[in-house]
């Protein structure tokens, strides 16, 4: 009897106090929430305080003012943003009388330079390898498979030092450099021919160049098939015409006994870093592509075969367009990890962001402030890449078949 009454009372109370209980729960939730926030803030403050104390013990003050000191060291390659003739901001070579902040800019410039080149090249190579793994040709299939396996199962760092110490530094010296369609390959670096402007400021030449740019923009951004083809044709036509009339010349590097002149050059460090990262990243991209192709329903292949399409047409028109839509996010992750991997350049002395940070930390002792800058730079780079990939993904999926 007593038990029953108690149960009733309890039940009634629960019914009556439902709003009250909800309110109590909400208050408890909010209290926990605020407690966690407070604890986190206290932790961060304690952390900052401990760092400040520790630095003070070493006689270092936490401040970013060192950024505006003169660097006092040289960087072997790379541009920085500086005032040209004290007026216009421009990209100039870094010299030791520039500021430390400008040294950081040089590092970011070099990192972006390698990252962009590596993203372009590794995507192409990775697609080739990925499709190669599905080739009907036994040798090509197995060759791609083993290349990908080997690269994925060994550390990137050993690949990098191997490319640098065992390959690039064993290139012939510049006096005996290998020449390859105008490309000069030597220990001192790689030299590539570049197109140069020879048209001066004649109106015709400038007009042709402008038209070329418009056509290129048209190819890149126009979504309608026919206009795009017209633009591509115009690009080819205008480009060929400008070469033929000598408005644009080709600056071919010429190797002499001690150095090469002309063209554009790439330092051995950059060449090794680029090779290592491109090959490594291409293997991962190949694996992404293969995974995506494998994940497509088999019916796609069978339907294409029953329509009488050849295997090449099937791959080009049926499989790859669908694969592109699926792989873009994975490609984005790979691009981010590729950009992070450029930090290994410090192992072979390529002056990317992390390497230059190391030099600055050594020279000034402001290693913790520098880390904040480096970290922020990598975060921004990663976000920029994922934003760009997200944009491309939306653009690709907006029109065309749904997934």
């Amino acid at each position: 009897m007593t038990v029953q009454t108690q149960a009733n009372v309890a039940g009634n109370m629960a019914d009556d106090d439902l709003p009250a209980r909800r309110r109590r729960n909400r208050i408890r939730h909010n209290a926990t929430q605020s407690a966690i926030v407070a604890a986190a803030i206290v932790l961060v403050v304690l952390f900052a305080f401990a760092v400040k104390e520790g630095l003070a013990r070493h006689g270092i003050r936490f401040s970013f003012s060192f950024l505006w000191d003169a660097a006092g060291f040289d960087i072997s390659e790379g541009k920085t943003v500086a005032l040209k003739d004290g007026v216009w901001p421009a990209l100039l070579n870094f010299t030791s009388d520039h500021l430390i902040a400008q040294a950081f800019v040089t590092g970011i410039f070099n990192t972006i330079k390698v990252a962009v080149l590596a993203i372009l090249l590794s995507t192409v190579l990775g697609m080739l390898l990925g499709v190669g793994r599905l080739s009907t040709n036994w040798v090509v299939r197995n060759l791609s498979f083993w290349c990908v396996e080997f690269v994925r199962n060994t550390p990137l760092l050993i690949q990098l030092v191997f490319w640098y110490f065992a390959v690039v530094l064993h290139f012939p010296p510049i006096a005996a450099a290998a020449k390859f369609y105008g490309v000069v390959i030597s220990q001192q670096g790689l030299y590539f021919p570049v197109p140069t402007w020879q048209g001066g400021d004649s109106l015709l030449a400038v007009g042709a160049a402008t038209a070329l740019w418009v056509a290129i923009l048209g190819v890149l951004f126009d979504r309608h098939g026919t206009v795009r083809w017209i633009c591509a044709g115009a690009v080819l036509l205008l480009g060929g015409m400008m070469f033929a009339t000598g408005i644009v010349g080709l600056d071919v590097p010429v190797a002499s006994k001690f150095q090469a002149r002309g063209g554009t050059s790439m330092s051995p460090e950059m060449a090794a870093l680029l090779l290592a990262i491109v090959v490594n990243s291409a293997s991962y991209i190949a694996e992404i592509v293969r995974g995506a192709i494998d994940a497509l329903p088999k019916g796609q292949w069978e339907a294409a075969a029953s329509l009488g399409l050849t295997r090449r047409d099937t791959v080009n028109d049926i499989i790859l367009p669908q694969v592109f839509r699926v792989v873009l996010p994975s490609f984005g992750n790979q691009y981010i990890s590729l950009t992070k991997n450029t930090a290994l350049g410090i192992a072979i002395g390529y002056p990317e962001l992390f390497n230059i940070y190391g030099t600055i930390a050594n020279q000034t002792g402001h290693s913790l402030e520098g880390i904040v800058i480096v970290m922020a730079s990598y975060l921004i780079l990663s976000w920029a890449i994922s934003a760009a990939v997200g944009w491309a993904d939306r653009r690709m999926t907006r029109h065309g078949a749904s997934r």
Partner: protein
């Protein structure tokens, strides 16, 4: 026979004009490359540098008279790895034969003729096989595996520490670093993954921020940062470089483990949680006994792949002055006497890394199939 091989090559090499072209260009190139490499490896290369410097490659600059400590550590590692393998693959008779083959190949490749070393290597493999067999045949032992692995890791530290943690090096350092990171990141990663879907937005926010920041900065930077930050934060503790490196690796890879675990948590159907809740289970019990076991089952293959990632990034500890396997190889090459043996040493390093890496990949793939079969 000839007809069959002709038919095979018609199908696989010369099916279409494009295939013929590919075959005709690729096959001679590959053959030429193989010929060149084989010719170099068999005639030009001086492989004697590998047995001569094997000790440095394996354990770095660890003092010679303390080598027994590294053997003990290696025994513990072998037993732990065997036990881990035993949890997923049953030990069969043919595996014993395979292990013997591994011993033989390892001894021939390294060219050791010291009887003590031969016996020790044999003991290592036997221990590995024994613990594999024990765990797979007697499932009751598995319950003690997690505490045993922690005890084993602590024992390794206790054995290896006396001569000074600064002397750890070589392949042993790479493997230790990988093991410690793999074991310690798991609980932290699980906590972070749950934190990312917590009821409290502040916990969610903090965990997400940690994971995202760690995932967008390079590992080498995190390791270096922890290395310089630890003495500033705790000047009286005076942690060894190795420990600081392990902390850096753990902080970095926890974020990755958390993402893998989170993908596993998402794969558990909502109905499971709802059913458990309607049975009146507490949130903690639901997560511990319903959600987590199913989630972990899904993420075992990616987590094994993550172990390979850790092992492949272990050479980055060069940034804090440690001598891991790769760095030990470079140290040998820095000796002017061996300056011309670049390719021999790098070949050995590449081969070892590739063998270990392929083994881990193989296990991950097998596991994936194994688990897929179980869930059908």
């Amino acid at each position: 026979m000839i007809a069959r091989s002709l038919k095979w090559s018609r199908h696989n090499l010369f099916a279409k004009p494009f295939d013929i072209l590919l075959s005709l260009t690729v096959i001679p190139g590959v053959l030429w490359l193989i010929w060149q490499i084989a010719g170099w490896a068999l005639t030009v290369a001086q492989w004697d540098i590998i047995p001569q410097s094997l000790r440095v490659l394996m354990i770095g600059i660890f003092p010679v008279d303390q080598v027994w400590r590294t053997w003990v550590a290696a025994m513990i590692i072998a037993a732990l790895l065997g036990a881990a393998l035993g949890c997923v693959f049953a030990f069969r008779g043919r595996h014993a034969g395979g292990l013997l083959l591994v011993v033989a190949v390892a001894l021939i490749l390294t060219g050791t003729n010291d009887l003590a070393n031969i016996l020790l290597v044999a003991a290592l493999v036997v221990l590995f096989g024994l613990s594999w067999a024990l765990i797979s045949r007697v499932p009751a032992v598995r319950k003690g595996l997690v505490p045993a692995s922690f005890v084993g890791l602590i024992a390794i530290f206790a054995v290896m520490a006396p001569p000074g943690a600064g002397l750890w090096g070589g392949l042993l350092l790479s493997i230790l670093l990988t093991l410690v990171t793999a074991v310690v990141t798991l609980p932290i990663g699980i906590l972070l993954a749950f934190g990312r879907r917590s009821r409290f937005s502040s916990v969610r926010w903090i965990c997400t921020a940690y994971i995202e920041v760690m995932r967008s900065v390079p590992l080498i930077m995190v390791v270096y940062w922890i290395w310089i930050l630890m003495p500033v934060l705790t000047p009286q503790l005076n942690l060894a470089d190795v420990v600081r490196g392990m902390i850096g690796f753990t902080l970095f890879y926890s974020a990755y483990v958390a993402e893998y675990v989170r993908s596993g948590l998402q794969a558990v159907p909502r109905g499971q949680t709802e059913a458990a809740r309607s049975l009146g289970m507490s949130e903690f019990d639901i997560n511990r006994s319903i959600v987590l076991p199913q989630a972990l089952r899904v993420v075992v293959p990616p987590l094994v792949g993550n172990v390979l990632d850790i092992f492949n990034t272990a050479p980055l500890v060069f940034i804090i002055g440690l001598t891991d396997f790769l760095r030990a190889g470079q140290m040998i090459l820095a000796n002017p006497q061996y300056g011309d043996r670049t390719y021999e040493v790098y070949s050995f390093l590449f081969l070892t890394y590739f063998l270990v890496g392929s083994l881990i990949t193989f296990v991950a793939r097998k596991l994936e199939k194994h688990l897929a079969r179980g869930s059908r």
